[in-house]
């Protein structure tokens, strides 16, 4: 499952990563030893050492076989975080948490759309499930809630702008658009998400 999601995101964005996300999975004990909190069912662990960035991904055992859209999206979020951090590290660029979260929200939408065969049917329900009927974990702080809510809002704004490209089945334009978006820097990307004109 993780390998498939990674392949899908890499193909969509035209990325070529030498890393295999599934090789960086750790269990709860290892996650805690690496400084993780295990508060969430998905957690990317990052440490900056002398030899560069070290990454590990914790996924709760229940996510190994996702049964619901929500669980599937948690896995996508973990893979998205991993790939985006690896991508920005390669570009020697710092990444902000808001940017990381907003990108993951967009990635969930894109993976779901492509897995449904890039068809317009069911788009309103998908948008609602991903961006409107969202509940945040009780353990989050106010600051974290604010950040997630804003990331969700920015991603929703962008996802809605992608809808015409999906409805007209313009896969080539869709890929060109999302590849352009993926490579934007933090400020430019958030400004791009926030703007209102069609993609």
């Amino acid at each position: 499952m993780i390998d498939l999601i990674q392949a899908q995101l890499e193909n969509t964005y035209g990325l070529s990563s030498e890393l295999k996300v599934s090789d960086f999975l750790v269990d709860e004990t290892a996650a805690r030893a690496l400084g993780g909190t295990a508060r969430a069912r998905e957690e990317l662990l990052v440490s900056e050492g002398a030899e560069g960035l070290e990454l590990a991904l914790y996924l709760h055992p229940s996510l190994s076989h996702p049964q619901t859209l929500g669980e599937f999206c948690e896995v996508v979020e973990g893979v998205s975080h991993f790939l985006y951090l690896a991508h920005t590290a390669k570009e020697e660029r710092r990444v902000s948490l808001l940017e990381l979260e907003a990108q993951a929200e967009v990635d969930k939408f894109i993976v779901c759309v492509l897995r449904r065969g890039f068809r317009g049917g069911g788009l309103p329900a998908l948008l609602a499930a991903l961006f409107e009927r969202v509940s945040l974990h009780a353990h989050l702080t106010e600051a974290e809630r604010w950040r997630y809510a804003e990331a969700n809002r920015l991603a929703r704004s962008y996802a809605r702008r992608l809808v015409p490209l999906i409805l007209t089945a313009s896969l080539e334009r869709f890929l060109a658009e999302v590849r352009h978006m993926y490579r934007l820097g933090a400020d430019a990307k958030l400004r791009y998400f926030a703007q209102l004109r069609p993609a």
């Binding site: 902000s96 808001l98 106010e142 604010w146 704004s157 400020d187 958030l190 400004r191 998400f193 209102l196």
Partner: protein, 197 residues
């Protein structure tokens, strides 16, 4: 109204106006918070303080998302300044430009949420300082303060003449907002006796 305009400085005008509207709307706020709002209004009455960028020759404000994003990456002192600006811009925009926000994808609720969160965050970051309580009150009573500013904006528009009066009238027709009704009633735009005692 004319007395207020003639009363001297812009700050004095807003001081009287805020005091009057706060009292009328029965909003309970500390004097120092009221003073903060007065300063905010007189600062932003000078357009260049609100608008901070020139896009295609047009003045514009930085999107709230970018202000927020910048704040997240700053050290404490700078972060406080940016979050305060985020709270101020949200409050002023939600209060003074509410009608134009209704037609945007990002509506008044978004400004309310960002403003409330920003002031709450500033209160937390400056806890222990004498201003913390002001920001806390600004966050907690954000919605009431937006309504205060909305009425001040309407009163200002009505005072500019027929065109402004018409705008307020149209807004009242669309929304049925009772505060706007009072403003129009006092300006003689509506026949007396419409409101229940």
């Amino acid at each position: 109204m004319s007395q207020l305009v003639l009363s001297g400085s812009l700050k004095e005008f807003f001081r009287l106006m805020v005091g009057e509207v706060v009292k009328r709307q029965r909003v309970t706020i500390e004097e120092i918070t009221e003073f903060y709002v007065v300063n905010l209004l007189s600062d932003y009455a000078q357009a260049e303080r609100l608008f901070d960028a020139s896009v295609d020759g047009r003045r514009d404000t930085e999107p709230l998302a970018l202000l927020y994003h910048r704040a997240l990456q700053q050290e404490r002192d700078e972060r406080v300044r940016t979050l305060r600006r985020l709270g101020d811009v949200s409050l002023y925009t939600a209060g003074f430009f509410q009608p134009s926000l209704q037609d945007r994808v990002v509506g008044p609720d978004y400004y309310m949420q960002m403003g409330r969160n920003a002031y709450a965050a500033v209160a937390e970051l400056s806890s222990g300082s004498s201003f913390s309580a002001v920001y806390q009150e600004l966050g907690l009573k954000f919605a009431s303060l937006v309504e205060v500013l909305e009425e001040i904006s309407a009163r200002g528009q009505v005072a500019t003449g027929p065109e402004g009066q018409l705008r307020v009238f149209e807004r009242w027709q669309r929304s049925g907002n009772e505060r706007l009704e009072v403003v129009l009633l006092e300006a003689g735009m509506l026949p007396k006796g419409r409101l229940p005692n």
